[in-house]
Structures are given as structure tokens and as C-alpha cells.
């Protein structure tokens, strides 16, 4: 379940006018923007953009980009674009980033359903005039490239069929591959094959089989052994496929751990999951940390950025 609180009826025209009033002239009334946009779902936000354009011949996104700033602006930008375009944007940013945040690519490819992933690929075509796999491939190499391209290109079978024998044999293959500390090309390619082509339900059965046979979760084993980008990415892929909500909880926890705060990660998870399953993630967070997610976020952020995130999380003033 999501956390977004949005009314069943709204008037796009009224919303557009109210937002206009908030950005017109000197200064910006961020509170109004948060109150309106922070309480609208994707379809409603799209209608507001259209109404705003009709009324004022201006792209609302561009206007907000110029009026807002910092973490708040980045969060609002990601929030207001249409969901599949949002993922395309996040993927592209991850590829262009100096330290190449491959986690995001793996996350998108593995947490989304096969149909959702394809819609993101289409949005990527429209926005960047390239295919997602093309850009991923051009920015990576070796086994990491094979893994990432395979993950973003996958169109996994989504039905309920599981082959128990296959789960056994592929759990064995994964075990062999992880055991070998040195770079064993054939085994790595088998890991890639399994992770990038099997259906999620088959993979979960495989990971369960692994745990039953070896007494340790495959992700725990990988965390112990993983050293390079490739194995780290494999670990993330497995965790996202197995339980993406648990994975997102960890991303949030890590984002707020220690000295600084990783606003990119915080924004990414909250904005992309607010309409999907942020409520479930919140519950996992509370169970794990004995602190409410809203309270952690309130402690680690400030200003309009904080208000906006809390609004998306369903916190009313």
C-alpha cells in the first residue's frame, strides 16, 4: 500500500490557478505547492500540468524548476514527472553520475514488474532517443555490463509455474559460482544467465532452495564474499528480486545512517514508492529500527524538502 493521501475529486483548473498564484511575482509560496501537488496522484498531477499549460501557455515543470531549488526542487521534479519517465530519468542520471550509481539501475530493473520495466524502456526512448540497454552497455564493461544489460532487457515470464528440479540445479550453480573467490568466467556467466532470464517466482524458489541446502541466505553469503562492482550488483539484484520492500527499507536506513544524509536515495525511494508500497516499507522500517520512518526523516532533513517528504509519507500537519 502507498502512503499518498489524495482526494477522489479535484479540479485541475483550480489547482493550476492556485499553483500559479503561488509562483507568480516575487518569491514562491512553497507551502501551497506542497499542499496541492503532495496530495495528488499521477493521473491528477498530469491533469494539472495540462490545465496549467492550457491556462498559462507554460510548462509547469519548467516553471517549478526555476522557482524552487536544492533537494526540494529535485524531489518535486521527480514527483511531478510521469512515473515511467521518472524511472527513465533516474536511470539516465545514474549512468551519467561520476561514481556511476549502478545500484539504481539494478533496483529499477529488478523491483519493477516486467510490464512496468518495458514501459520505462519506452519512456527512455522518448526522452533520450536511445534505448536504455544501449546507454547501459556504452557506460559499462565486462561481466557488470552483461549483468546490467541483461537485467534491463529482461521480460520475465510472470506466471506461477515453478520447476523444483531446476531450482535445485540452479541453486547448485549459484553456490559453485559464489564459492570460487577468483574470477571464474564461466560460472559468472551462469550467474548472469540465471539472474537475468528466469522468472522472479522461479528465482525465489531457487534462493529458498539455496538457503535450505546451505544453511545460509544467498545474500548473506554474497555480502561476505562480494568485493567488486559485479558481485555487489548481483547481491542487490537478488535482494530486490527476493523482497524489494525489505531492500528499500535498507536503502532508507543507510541513507540516514551516520554523519550525512543521502538525499538522492531518500528522495528516490520516497518519491517512487509513495503511490505503491511505501506504507509496507514503513512497517518494515519500524519493525527493524523501532523508530517511525517519518521521525527519522524529520530528524535528518529540514525546510520545504522535509515538509514535502513528510507529506508524501502521509503525515498531515
Amino acid at each position: 500500500m502507498g502512503t499518498l493521501i489524495a482526494p477522489t475529486n479535484h479540479s485541475p483548473l483550480e489547482d493550476a490557478e492556485a499553483i500559479r498564484k503561488a509562483v507568480k511575482g516575487w518569491g514562491t509560496d512553497e507551502k501551497v505547492i506542497i499542499t496541492i501537488l503532495g496530495h495528488r496522484d499521477a493521473i491528477q498531477r498530469q491533469k494539472i500540468r495540462e490545465a496549467y499549460y492550457e491556462l498559462f501557455q507554460e510548462d509547469l515543470i519548467k516553471r517549478l524548476e526555476s522557482e524552487l531549488s536544492g533537494d526540494f526542487e529535485r524531489a518535486m521534479y521527480r514527483w511531478i514527472v510521469e512515473p515511467s519517465e521518472r524511472y527513465a530519468l533516474l536511470a539516465n542520471i545514474a549512468l551519467r553520475h561520476a561514481d556511476r550509481n549502478y545500484d539504481v539501475i539494478v533496483e529499477i530493473a529488478c523491483a519493477l514488474s516486467p510490464e512496468e520495466l518495458f514501459i520505462v524502456r519506452r519512456a527512455y526512448h522518448n526522452r533520450y532517443h536511445h534505448s536504455l540497454e544501449e546507454d547501459v552497455a556504452a557506460n559499462t564493461s565486462g561481466h557488470l555490463r552483461q549483468l546490467l544489460v541483461g537485467l534491463v532487457s529482461s521480460f520475465r515470464y510472470g506466471g506461477n509455474e515453478i520447476n523444483a528440479k531446476l531450482a535445485q540445479s540452479e541453486a547448485d550453480i549459484l553456490h559453485e559460482a559464489i564459492k570460487l573467490k577468483d574470477k571464474n568466467s564461466n560460472k559468472d556467466e551462469e550467474v548472469i544467465r540465471i539472474l537475468t532470464t528466469r522468472s522472479k517466482i522461479q528465482l525465489v524458489a531457487t534462493f529458498n532452495r539455496y538457503r535450505d541446502d546451505h544453511g545460509i541466505a544467498i545474500t548473506k553469503k554474497l555480502s561476505d564474499e562480494a568485493s567488486d562492482d559485479f558481485h555487489k550488483a548481483v547481491n542487490i539484484a537478488i535482494r530486490c528480486i527476493q523482497d524489494h520492500k525489505k531492500y528499500y527499507e535498507k536503502v532508507l536506513r543507510n541513507a540516514m545512517k551516520g554523519g550525512g544524509t543521502n538525499e538522492d536515495a531518500l528522495t528516490r525511494v520516497i518519491v517512487t514508492r509513495a503511490e505503491k508500497d511505501l506504507n509496507d516499507i514503513k512497517e518494515i522500517y519500524y519493525k527493524r529500527n523501532s523508530v517511525h520512518l517519518e521521525d527519522s526523516v524529520a530528524k535528518e532533513t529540514s525546510g520545504d524538502y522535509k515538509k514535502f517528504l513528510l507529506t508524501l509519507m502521509g503525515k498531515e500537519d
Binding site: S131, G142, V149, S153, S154, F155
Partner: protein, 315 residues
């Protein structure tokens, strides 16, 4: 017709692509036992004389082949009536099952279909076989070609016309260098060539193809030794020429059954897309029209059906 002519007409009706149903009905269908015995004795490639027991029996091998010929029309009808997605999904499944000799069909489908058509085939494959295409390709194909084939069937290429010419040029150079050094490192192990061919858009690859010709003086597919890479380049950059070559190989009397099937497959799958362009290229390449060739080699309902498919929309 005299018996001698008839004795030639019936074997004729049974050799080629498909069978001449009308000749079998009117001639074979009216023969009495003596005429049929004459037929059996006079066609040693269809019937084996058992000298010890004094009778003639069907040659098993030919009987098996004949089964395929009778059913060729039915198979083409089924293929034609199918939704294109189911069609491509079933063709892929069959190619995976048949093994190495049929992997060219995988390349053909992955590279000549539009991005949306390939997506459709992947959806249909889920529905028909409870697996994804990439899953089955990856788990059934073990050789060096696996990486490339999986990448090809998973592609969702950008279909706009925008390309970056400098990239196309530099990637043509990359491929040129890899080919030059093929004696040191085989092409099909080169990740960059796989990346370029499996992910770049078709307009980009066509520009690359032209740049390659400027650099090397030859066409890219000619310089590629690996058959799958060659086919991929042909399908991606010059699909109609590729189809002409496939048709020409298929339109011979004595070919293996996989090659024979290509005739029906190409005509059925391209009849609504670019068969007119293919026919024009065929005429230019081989100096004979496609309908003329089909008239020569194919028989009966199968022949008429194919000719009809081609002729549609030409009025």
C-alpha cells in the same frame, strides 16, 4: 494423356515443394492395379523392388519426406492465419528446439522485426510456453553464440531517426579493428561488437554500415566470418537483400527441409510488410521474378497459396 506421360506426371507431382494435388486426384486416382504397378516399377527412387518376395515397397526415407510435402500447405495456412506474435513465438520455439542449424531463424526474427513486434512475440511466448524467450535461448544454447543470441532477442531498440554520426563512425572503426585482429581474438568473443550490434538502433547501424564501407572498401557482412554476426548485420542493415538470399537458397529442388521451410516462412511473415520491395530486389539480383521461380519449384495448393499471398495488394 498417354500412360507414359502419366507415369512421368505423377512422380513430378510428388517432387518439389508441396504436392500437385490435382494431378494426384485426376491421374493417380483413376489408375487400375496394373497401372499402379507400372508406376511403382518405373519410379525406383520412390519404390524399392523386393526381388526375393516380388513386390515393390515405398522407400521409407522418401515416404517421410513426402509426409512433409503433403503437410506443407496446411502448415503455411496455419502460419498465415496466426497472429504475428504467436507466429514469431512459435518460430522461435521451433528454432531453439531444432538446434544450431536453425539459429539463423532466431537472428532473423530478433533483427528484422520492429521493436514493438519483437515485444509482442515475447509476450506471446510467455503465454504459449510459460517461459521467456531469453530464458529458453539462454538455457538451451550453450556455445559461444549464446551471449549474442540472448542479447539480440532481448533488444528493444530505439526506433527514431536521430543518430549521432560521430558515434556511428567511431563504432565502425571499432568493428573494423576487431575484424582486422580476428586472428588474435575471435570476433564472437568481442564484447564491443556484441554491444554495438545488439543495442544500437537500426538507423545508427545503417550509418555505421556505410562508414564501414568507406573505411574498408567492403560491406561489413562480407568481412564478418561468424555466420550469426553476418546474418545479424544483413538483417539489421539490408533486410530485403537478406530475405532475397534466403528465398533463393530455398527455391531449389534438392534442399534440406529447414532451408525449404524458409520459403513459406519468409513469404508469410513479409507479405504484409515489405514483400514488394523484396520482389523488386529479387528480380534485380537474380534476373528472374519471384512468382516465376515459385511457379517452377512449388506445387499445387502450396504454390497457389504463396502466389496469392504475394499478389495481394498489387492491384
Amino acid at each position: 494423356m498417354e500412360l507414359n506421360q502419366e507415369l512421368e506426371a505423377v512422380p513430378q507431382a510428388l517432387s518439389g515443394h508441396g504436392v500437385e494435388e490435382s494431378a494426384l486426384v485426376t491421374i493417380l486416382g483413376k489408375w487400375d492395379p496394373l497401372e499402379r504397378e507400372a508406376f511403382r516399377k518405373k519410379t525406383p527412387n520412390l519404390f524399392i523392388e523386393d526381388k526375393e518376395r516380388h513386390f515393390q515397397r515405398w522407400d521409407d526415407h522418401y515416404a517421410r519426406l513426402l509426409k512433409h510435402e503433403f503437410v506443407r500447405f496446411k502448415n503455411t495456412v496455419m502460419l498465415w492465419s496466426m497472429h504475428p506474435w504467436e507466429r514469431d513465438a512459435r518460430l522461435v520455439k521451433e528454432a531453439i528446439k531444432k538446434g544450431k542449424a536453425s539459429y539463423g531463424v532466431l537472428v532473423e526474427i530478433a533483427c528484422t522485426r520492429s521493436s514493438e513486434e519483437l515485444l509482442g512475440a515475447r509476450k506471446a511466448y510467455h503465454s504459449l510456453f510459460d517461459h521467456s524467450i531469453e530464458e529458453d535461448v539462454a538455457s538451451h544454447i550453450h556455445g559461444i553464440e549464446r551471449k549474442f543470441l540472448v542479447a539480440l532477442v532481448s533488444a528493444y531498440r530505439y526506433e527514431g531517426a536521430k543518430i549521432k554520426n560521430e558515434h556511428a563512425k567511431s563504432e565502425a572503426k571499432i568493428i573494423f579493428d576487431v575484424i582486422k585482429n580476428a586472428h588474435k581474438k575471435p570476433i564472437n568473443e568481442d564484447d564491443e561488437v556484441i554491444r554495438i550490434l545488439a543495442t544500437r538502433s537500426k538507423p545508427h547501424l545503417k550509418a555505421l554500415y556505410n562508414h564501414y564501407k568507406d573505411i574498408s572498401g567492403k560491406n561489413l557482412d562480407e568481412d564478418l566470418d561468424d555466420i550469426r554476426f553476418k546474418e545479424a548485420v544483413q538483417c539489421l542493415c539490408t533486410p530485403q537483400i537478406y530475405f532475397c538470399k534466403v528465398l533463393d537458397s530455398a527455391l531449389k529442388i534438392d534442399v534440406d527441409k529447414n532451408t525449404k521451410k524458409a520459403l513459406g516462412r519468409v513469404i508469410v511473415t513479409r507479405a504484409d510488410i515489405d514483400i514488394k520491395e523484396i520482389m523488386a530486389d529479387y528480380n534485380n539480383l537474380y534476373g528472374v521474378t519471384l512468382p516465376h521461380k515459385i511457379q517452377d519449384i512449388a506445387k499445387g495448393n502450396y504454390k497457389d497459396f504463396l502466389l496469392n499471398l504475394i499478389a495481394r495488394g498489387s492491384n
